[in-house]
Assembly symmetry: D3
Homo-oligomer: 236 residues x 6
């Protein structure tokens, strides 16, 4: 992805991005009901690399499957490109794990930008201590074989009811995760930077006692003027 865009997206919130996409008619891009395994205090940004799970059929999902180096879960970990975010469609089912700390450690070492599942991670406490942002529904200790079979790498998927296409730009903060369609990433990043500047200005004003009427959103000229002055003063 565009390195400038990545930098911009490191500095804006998922909430701001959600509003920018809402303006464009996209209402379903936030991955619902996932949360950081541990808050990282910084954004996760990268293109989506996907893994799809289907319901497990018992005869195809014994522990011996993992001996196969082509097993899609293991292969996804070993082929996810550096800088990418591995997004897993676990059918919103957290009764078994989508992955554990060893696989996520490997993903981190390989340079992935982060990992998201709409299921759960096992070894979640350890994953939270790793230097890679990870998002899930809740901790879940059973091996993924218990209910899920990894079936497809890097196809289009759903994650937390959001549509995810490989290459879409995934952004996570300590609240939520959002999926920006690839072709919109640059323009949305630009717009979000602008919106963030205004929101920071508003925050400052509101903390100082200003009403939100006419300020948020800006419907009064005086606020527009004050904002321009604030931008200059703050180098924004």
């Amino acid at each position: 992805m565009n390195e400038q865009t990545r930098k911009k997206l490191m500095g804006v919130s998922v909430a701001t991005l959600a509003t920018a996409l809402f303006k464009r008619g996209l209402r379903s891009q936030v991955i619902q009901a996932v949360r950081p395994v541990a808050p990282k205090g910084r954004n996760m940004v990268g293109p989506a690399f996907t893994l799809r799970y289907m319901p497990a059929r018992e005869d195809r999902n014994q522990l011996s499957e993992f001996r196969n180096p082509e097993h899609p879960q293991r292969k996804a970990i070993e082929t996810c490109p550096p800088g990418a975010v591995l997004v897993m469609d676990s059918r919103k089912d957290a009764r078994a794990a989508s992955a554990g700390d060893i696989l996520i450690t490997r993903l981190m070492v390989r340079g992935a930008a982060g990992v998201v599942t709409d299921g759960g991670f096992r070894d979640a406490v350890r994953i939270g201590e790793l230097d890679i942002p990870a998002y899930h529904q809740r901790p879940s200790s059973p091996t993924n074989l218990t209910i899920n079979e990894a079936i497809e790498i890097n196809g289009p998927i759903g994650c937390g009811d959001a549509p995810v296409f490989p290459g879409d730009i995934v952004v996570g903060d300590d609240d939520c995760v959002i999926v920006i369609p690839a072709h919109l990433a640059d323009e949305v990043a630009d717009e979000a930077v602008e919106m963030t500047a205004y929101e920071d200005f508003v925050s400052e004003r509101v903390k100082a006692g200003a009403t939100i009427v006419g300020l948020y959103p800006c419907t009064k000229d005086e606020n527009r003027v004050a904002f321009e002055a604030w931008r200059k003063a703050n180098g924004r």
Copy 2:
């Protein structure tokens, strides 16, 4: 599929098949929470032909999409082989339709053996009147574009938390739908026919006042003997 197997499967219940698969360690083959759009009084039997939906992204899912003859939903209808059962992974979400009566009519005319979605059908009353078995969660009038995008034809999917691979044998009765792994279909059909004969014998006996102890399951020799006599007498 094997024509003999199809005939056998027309005469056994999903419950019996579920028990035969349970014996083989398969516990998750019944498609959960779907029901007949209208009871047909006969089984639906055929190999699975699948369609997968993902969450809809609004810019990709306007009505104009249907003008594309390659749209996967429309193409699935036009390419599902005669005798097959179209099984749709609608992510267990019935807030919008998986299909409506015109498409299901076309499917019927093309000779499909039936259709199953873990979402809902629009025009459900009309679909119920067609001469094709159809199973869903509940009627749902909104067009599928509202929440779903048809994305893949004839890949492995989940339907109602059951794993479905293309070519698996799908059997539905007026209670439920089950998915028999392709390689087990013949032996499971044979076994189910045997089990059904015994169950019919038991039913008759129990209606006549017999206890289930020793009879269901058969743990007394006298019942085994009586069953053999009953089979001969009834040509089973």
Copy 3:
């Protein structure tokens, strides 16, 4: 149970009984989210005989278990007293069956007044054709062993979030099922008969064009007088 009470309860609705219990501070006696397997057009009435399921542990729940004549599910069927209603606590989970048609046939032949589960029945179409009222959440073909282990006969249970003690009086109509604490059955039956008489009178009046104001509930003397006349005229 008192035969007079049984007769009275055959002629009143679950809705009326729910109101009579509500007056006594009991708000949770209707078994939630169950429905008749098939409408019977007559009430089910009888004292509760209970069976409790717990989650199945796979090593304890193989098909061979049913060979044991002491298996609680089978034993419950063979020991449920004539006239009683077998109420099953299936943990509100309908992913596997609570019982099938052979067992329910045996229950019918043995004279049970009915059967209720907060899970599902397999062979539901056949059960619906039997001459015994049966209530469940939805049809479910997998054998109960798949997720449930029958563990206790005739202890206190929950069913559809209602408390059920052995001997409580269970009443079902074509809408719902309610559990009347044993010590209240006689007085509640009496009161419900009285309420039903008034409701039938009101129904007639409302169909004839009367307002519900002052009539339902009765807050005008003229309605009280008219009701008394109606009772005499109709032998109620």
Copy 4:
């Protein structure tokens, strides 16, 4: 409401209306998860008259409340205009009833066009026998006081996650119920009549063996020509 519009809406399906609203960017107008208490084989059409329930506080919701002729539930029944559809916001909670047969009978006698709740009705079997379309989630015998307090008549509400404003046009068929914003009713009715004509033409063709490609939607001139001929021949 416009009488011509009412007639048009009597002849189109909720599915067709949902598509017409989808074209206008309205995706949430179908009332989710309600169904006819009994199928009527004809549409319910009328302007919405609303009743809102809030959670019940026990001290405000004893049976004596119904003695008050101003109780909002009772008053809604007595003031709902003839021709209107009473739509109840029961917070999607069917653990207690939204109303029973006596109130719905009164509503019918007073000339209402129908009634919808996203909760449940008590006396549902009887309501199903009345000559008024009624829609709910499932039968529910407990009195509404058990969990709900009727709090507001004819304000804006949600019903089954659909927004409902008084005066919006409500249409139900044997599948679902939809809410048409008042200002769109006439144009949507016109459009739906046109769409229905085309769908009926398509249905006929598909039953006769035509492919849906180029026909549904119409992307081939020959189909447009054939449709025009069909309209003339059939007086549509």
Copy 5:
């Protein structure tokens, strides 16, 4: 509200208040399934000022709506009285935000005692850092317009299945939030202070090794005597 009552309620737990209301027959006053955005280590206490959301209709809920200074969400923020708790009925749906950090900052600056939604907040991490107690279901970044329309200020509402009337006294601790009917606030506060004294005494005793039998609840005279001594010794 009564200042003495406020002080008393600052020192008691929601659990103790729930028991005091349970004694009075009120079982549904705890707002279900909400939690502090961030624990504050002190209670939130104040009279309820309410905002009700209904499902969003897309044509009424574009971003431009916020330019209207009368938009109910914005107006609620600007009119919520100092000392009050803003309670939002978001229909228990956290798929979009009920509000974000700028609005909650404004609410804080204006002197509100706290804010509760049964949906979710966007910018939740920032809201957690503000000096105002806030409670929600989970973080949710999409703008409220995505699924909700703010429709009514300071009417009776439901929040997390609890009934809330304007002026009811809302108390939150780091576990839960409860709604005390206005007319009961003073007496319940008094009683809860008494109960808390006893519970603190019990806690001390139990930590020192005492059995709960006869102590909790107090059924032995010796414990009553010891408690009285403890009160004097501890100035309670």
Copy 6:
């Protein structure tokens, strides 16, 4: 329980144990959807001592019930053996509390190894500060009497959809809780210690840059050799 086994189980994760049980065909032993009230950084290990709740009937569940020293909830607290884990079947319903801080303090003082409910605890913040591991779904302030009646001590139960028999060995870490059937505890503990040694070795290797292929699981001889060397070097 075997003291050696207890020590071993203190040093392994629930995830590892889940895999060891999965190998033995046990897929449902993790208690679903519970989490630590507060992370303890050490395992909870002990034999299960159980308490079962059923739905509360209002006349049997007034506050006065707690005056009875034989009340099962209170008695369970006073009779749970030192070293045991009290496991409560709260029917997965967290709308009311399973217990509060005073009872859990008493349990701690009496030497219990921990406590688990599939409902919620009141006074959860205080319970989190106690020196006893506690697991629940979420904080819940209403007294248990509101929806639950404690009915049976030390029988077989379900907890979070896991089967629990008295004496089964319960292990919790900061992610999840698992139930090991009593007869398997020793062998599973041994195996888990072995697995943990290998996982720790793998973790170290992966952090140092090794691929998981051939290492996790071990399918290359060189890794087996390296592991043996690592064990000696690290005294494992």
